[in-house]
């Protein structure tokens, strides 16, 4: 009797029984909303962890973790200068699992910036942006920018000195853009100073606008992966395929558990920083942008227009146009294809330069942006 009800309930939701046979496995993938984004059959090549490193999947899981922890944090957070900092203190000291949530959110956010960047590197180095995947690369670049924007808007919310001055520096870099820069900064802050209006705008962007945009582009990104023929693979070869159930689904689940374990451990071991309450009259020396913009801040030191405008605009434009400029069809689906030696070398050089200036800005710059040794 109860068995019967349970079975009917299962079927009403999943339409098929537990997928055991080839047929039910195909049906499962086709009939489930969650699973239908996957193909029924998947190339063995795409399942190799050494090919994808699972970076796109990890990015997506981090986004999920951020959504869940972020929603929980929203229950306690008040986006006003009088209350924001106290919200942080309440989370730390009075809310059950408050600090755990905040830590998980913080570390997942930092992790996501890094992983999305690495994912882009993987896609470039395996030539995976080439036809027919040009547009999905563009979507990917937009997702990278959205990730940075989400992280940046979230950075202000604790309303401590770290947040306040990082955003001060970050929005100052924005203002270097000729003509539009100051206007964009004004729009972003809702004024000339970082105050209640800026906090509210960053909050709305962080909790509503950017996550929705992100969700939409992620869906598009996934959809395009399927429509563009699944993950990239060397053309012209006969690829072995296996059923997505269980091989792909299981691996995805495994990566999810891995991500959760890592985030949990990080959240339990390391507390998110929180400095004194924001004080517009006390400028820390040095005032630093969030770490992923410290490369830019370092470059701004060599020239405001150079570091604040030329380099970031050039990089973003180059990334967006890349698949349309590089029309050479060879070298897809393998790491460091010999045909792509020059392209890979240039890309690796630029990526390493970005990492290098970021490291310099983060660890080697002290008061008055003078060189210091981090040890």
């Amino acid at each position: 009797m109860i068995n019967d009800i349970a079975r009917r309930l299962w079927l009403s939701v999943f339409r098929v029984g537990w997928p055991r046979t080839r047929q039910t496995r195909v049906e499962a993938m086709l009939s489930s909303f969650v699973l239908h984004v996957h193909p029924t059959w998947v190339r063995v090549h795409a399942l190799r962890p050494t090919y994808t490193l699972g970076l796109g999947l990890v990015s997506f899981y981090l986004f999920l973790v951020l959504t869940v922890t972020g929603l929980a944090l929203m229950l306690y957070y008040v986006p006003h200068p009088d209350a924001a900092y106290r919200s942080m203190k309440d989370l730390e000291y009075a809310v059950t699992f408050g600090m755990f949530l905040r830590n998980a959110h913080r570390w997942a956010a930092h992790g996501m910036v890094a992983v999305v960047f690495l994912h882009m590197c993987r896609v470039f180095l395996t030539g995976a942006y080439k036809a027919p995947r040009e547009f999905n690369w563009v979507v990917g670049v937009l997702l990278l920018l959205l990730t940075l924007a989400l992280s940046f808007t979230g950075y202000l919310l604790p309303w401590d000195q770290l947040a306040y001055w990082a955003i001060t520096v970050g929005t100052a870099i924005v203002a270097y853009f000729p003509v539009l820069g100051p206007q964009v900064r004004y729009l972003l802050l809702g004024g000339h100073e970082i105050g209640a209006a800026a906090l509210l705008r960053f909050y709305v962007l962080h909790c509503l606008v950017l996550p929705l945009a992100m969700a939409f582009l992620v869906a598009l990104h996934f959809w395009r992966v399927r429509k563009d023929g699944g993950l990239s693979a060397p053309p012209g070869r006969l690829h072995r395929r296996v059923l997505a159930w269980p091989h792909l689904v299981f691996r995805e689940l495994l990566v999810l558990v891995l991500v959760l374990v890592v985030i949990h451990a990080a959240a339990l071991l390391f507390d998110a920083p929180l400095e004194e309450i924001a004080d517009a009259t006390r400028t820390p020396n040095p005032a630093k942008a969030p770490w992923y913009f410290l490369g830019l801040q370092e470059l701004v030191r060599y020239g405001a227009i150079f570091g604040g405008v030329v380099v970031p605009t050039g990089l973003v434009l180059a990334l967006l146009l890349l698949p349309y400029l590089d029309t050479h069809p060879r070298g897809v689906g393998v790491w460091f294809a010999p045909e792509r030696r020059t392209a890979n070398a240039v890309f690796v050089a630029i990526a390493l330069a970005v990492v290098a200036v970021t490291i310099v800005g983060t660890f080697f710059r002290g008061p008055n942006w003078a060189w210091v040794w981090p040890w």
Partner: protein
């Protein structure tokens, strides 16, 4: 691209066992992290302490709320504080926990009765991070990123001072001393300090300085002020020899239009001068040889400082030289003034070390340089000088000094520990220790004095307590000597009476309606307020006393100086005081029949009044002599005083015996009936 159905190699129908094993291990790890998170939350410090407190209480009777304990917090919206300290300090308000181990021990003393925890919380007084629920987070000691760690025992009074804005907050020692010192050294002349007037000390005008002091004295003074006055309010400006010469040259230039009065010194009688010095009670305000008052400068070496002619001219009319001086214009005859000046010159003419006469006057060529130093070091902040404008205050505002954030690098370079209290202490002890080019003088504070000033400075916080939470001294304004009267508020005496008040400088010691000079301790020198004096004392007594004052309270060191007020002036003053300076509420009479007087005598004996007051030839010296006081006191006042002494004079030694009005009236009837002592004459 056709679908190639190939028998998969390695990837069979099932997931490989190796992958399953990895998944299994990761799942275990995931469960472990979740358990870890829950355990961490369950073992939060405050929960552990609450468990131990429950164990502690197990022996004690369990009250209803013990079961319902959880995170405790006191929310004080007006102070913008949330204090969760009581989540662990569970016995803080339970007297029976006096001996319990921390964090359960009851608060010592009776502080929580005065400052109820639900109204004041914990961190308002103690500092620390109230939101925190861990020992470290609460900032029991300094922690990074929390600007307000708990105050150490030594600095606790600075925290009191944030709400208690009086000059001498009750029960404080360091704070009161520090605030008094800040007023005494005139910190406010250069710094804006909340709770202090612009200029607390009347430093002398420097016009006509050349008429008064010899170059030798001026050089010595500029080099080392406390070489002349051990308790000098002026600090040591650490001037170089050249700066001293230049400044002396500038100051000894003729400034202003003052001229000295001349007299025939061959007729001077120092003997008579000495008698006059004692009879006029100069030591009420001036110290000589280490004894005497503090309202005015010590006269121990005055002969080495001021010329004879200047002393003579000064005694005749001090207000001509220093319009804002507190010193009354005594009603001396010219020969009396001459004798007194001669006495001071000869008796107190010995120059202290470093002030010996030298003939050379400073070179006038240096005067312009001296003017620059005068301006740069902010001399004008305390001293007025004809032809020199009063410029803006030279020092920074001290309003938020207690929350100042230090730039550590320069301090570390000098080996100064970079805590705010230590920086303040070092700066106050010797500004040159913090900054070579410091303009602030060295006041030569002893270590404990510097510590007291540090405590007072630390009480000046960036965010003041809300007005409803602060206590302040009653508003007092300095007397308007030497400036045109405005008829403004608070009370400013006008007309004939006003002219006499200014001439005799009544408001240097007394107050009327909040107007009057206060000493560094925040109180006027005389405890006698004049606001209702006409209802307290009889008109006849006032007139007699003003003309010829005597010691009413024998034990009191400060006595009214003998001003030689002319009889008609005394009459004017007494008439005004007894018609205007009255309080109708305390006017009244008492029955003087024999029964009442007898009852009063009983009460007098029962309460042991004679322990403090003299009646006949016996009694104590703490309170006023009561013989013949019927000629002095008005009965209504005596009754009011006996009923509520603390109301009229806070801190008085007169005990409140809790008398009923008929008892007070009987006691008054008896006391006012006491006859005068014959030997001392009608004046008593």
């Amino acid at each position: 691209m056709g679908v190639a159905v190939v028998k998969p190699q390695g990837l069979g129908r099932r997931v490989s066992p190796g992958l399953l094993l990895v998944f299994g291990l990761l799942s275990v790890a995931l469960v472990a992290t979740v358990v870890w998170a829950v355990w961490k939350e369950a073992r939060a410090e405050w929960r552990v302490w609450q468990g131990r407190y429950a164990a502690l209480e197990a022996g004690a009777p369990v009250t209803a709320e013990d079961g319902a304990r959880g995170l405790q917090q006191i929310w004080l919206p007006d102070l913008d504080r949330v204090d969760r300290c009581t989540s662990c300090h569970l016995g803080i308000a339970e007297p029976e926990r006096a001996g319990a181990p921390q964090p359960f021990r009851a608060h010592p003393g009776r502080w929580l009765e005065i400052h109820r925890p639900d109204r004041y919380g914990c961190t308002a007084c103690h500092g620390g991070q109230g939101e925190a629920t861990s020992y470290r987070g609460a900032a029991h000691g300094p922690i990074p990123y929390w600007p307000e760690p708990m105050a150490s025992r030594e600095l606790m009074e600075a925290r009191c001072g944030t709400c208690h804005r009086e000059r001498r907050p009750k029960g404080t020692d360091w704070l009161a001393r520090g605030r008094a010192l800040m007023a005494d050294r005139n910190c406010t002349a250069c710094h804006e300090v909340p709770g202090h007037d612009a200029a607390e000390v009347r430093a002398p005008r420097l016009d006509g300085l050349a008429l008064k002091v010899p170059p030798s004295w001026l050089r010595g003074w500029l080099k080392k002020p406390n070489g002349y006055l051990p308790k000098s309010r002026m600090g040591d400006f650490r001037l170089s020899e050249r700066d001293v010469e230049a400044l002396a040259a500038f100051l000894l230039q003729p400034h202003g239009k003052l001229a000295l009065d001349r007299t025939d010194w061959s007729k001077a009688d120092t003997e008579k001068g000495g008698e006059l010095f004692r009879a006029s009670r100069c030591v009420t305000c001036h110290e000589v040889n280490g004894r005497g008052g503090t309202l005015a400068p010590a006269l121990t070496h005055v002969g080495a400082k001021a010329s004879r002619d200047w002393l003579y001219s000064w005694i005749r009319d001090p207000h001509r030289f220093q319009p804002k001086t507190l010193m009354p214009r005594f009603q001396f005859r010219d020969d009396e003034a001459r004798d007194l000046a001669a006495y001071l010159s000869s008796e107190y003419g010995e120059a202290p070390e470093g002030f010996q006469a030298s003939d050379a006057a400073p070179s006038p060529a240096l005067a312009e340089e001296g003017r620059g130093i005068y301006e740069k070091r902010g001399c004008y902040s305390c001293h007025e000088l004809e032809g020199f404008p009063a410029l803006a205050r030279i020092g920074p505002k001290l309003a938020a000094i207690g929350d100042r954030v230090l730039e550590p690098a320069p301090l570390v370079a000098r080996g100064i520990r970079t805590t705010l209290p230590n920086w303040l202490f070092t700066k106050v002890s010797g500004p040159e220790r913090v900054l070579d080019a410091a303009r602030m003088p060295t006041f030569g504070f002893a270590e404990d004095e510097a510590a007291a000033v540090t405590v007072a400075l630390l009480s000046l916080r960036a965010r003041e307590a809300p007005p409803a939470r602060t206590t302040r001294d009653p508003v007092r304004v300095p007397p308007a000597y030497g400036s045109p009267t405005s008829g403004g508020k608070p009370y400013e005496p006008q007309g004939e009476f006003g002219a006499l008040v200014r001439r005799y400088r009544c408001l240097s010691c007394h107050t009327i309606g909040g107007s009057g000079h206060v000493t560094a301790t925040g109180a006027p020198l005389s405890t006698v307020r004049l606001d209702r004096i006409g209802s307290q004392l009889t008109r006849e007594h006032l007139e007699r006393y003003i003309a010829k004052p005597y010691g009413v309270r024998v034990a009191l060191p400060e006595r009214m100086p003998h001003l030689n007020v002319a009889p008609e002036e005394a009459r004017t003053l007494a008439a005004y005081l007894s018609t205007v300076m009255v309080d109708d509420a305390i006017e009244g009479t008492v029955p003087v029949d024999a029964v009442t007087v007898a009852r009063g005598k009983q009460l007098f004996d029962r309460h042991g009044c004679v322990g403090c007051h003299i009646v006949g030839d016996k009694g104590g010296y703490v309170g006023p002599d009561l013989n013949g006081c019927g000629a002095r006191l008005k009965p209504g006042w005596a009754v009011a005083w006996l009923l509520e002494p603390e109301r009229w004079k806070p801190g008085t030694l007169e005990p409140d015996h809790g008398l009923t009005r008929p008892e007070a009236e009987a006691l008054t009837a008896y006391v006012l009936s006491l006859p005068a002592r014959k030997a001392k004459g009608a004046g008593r």
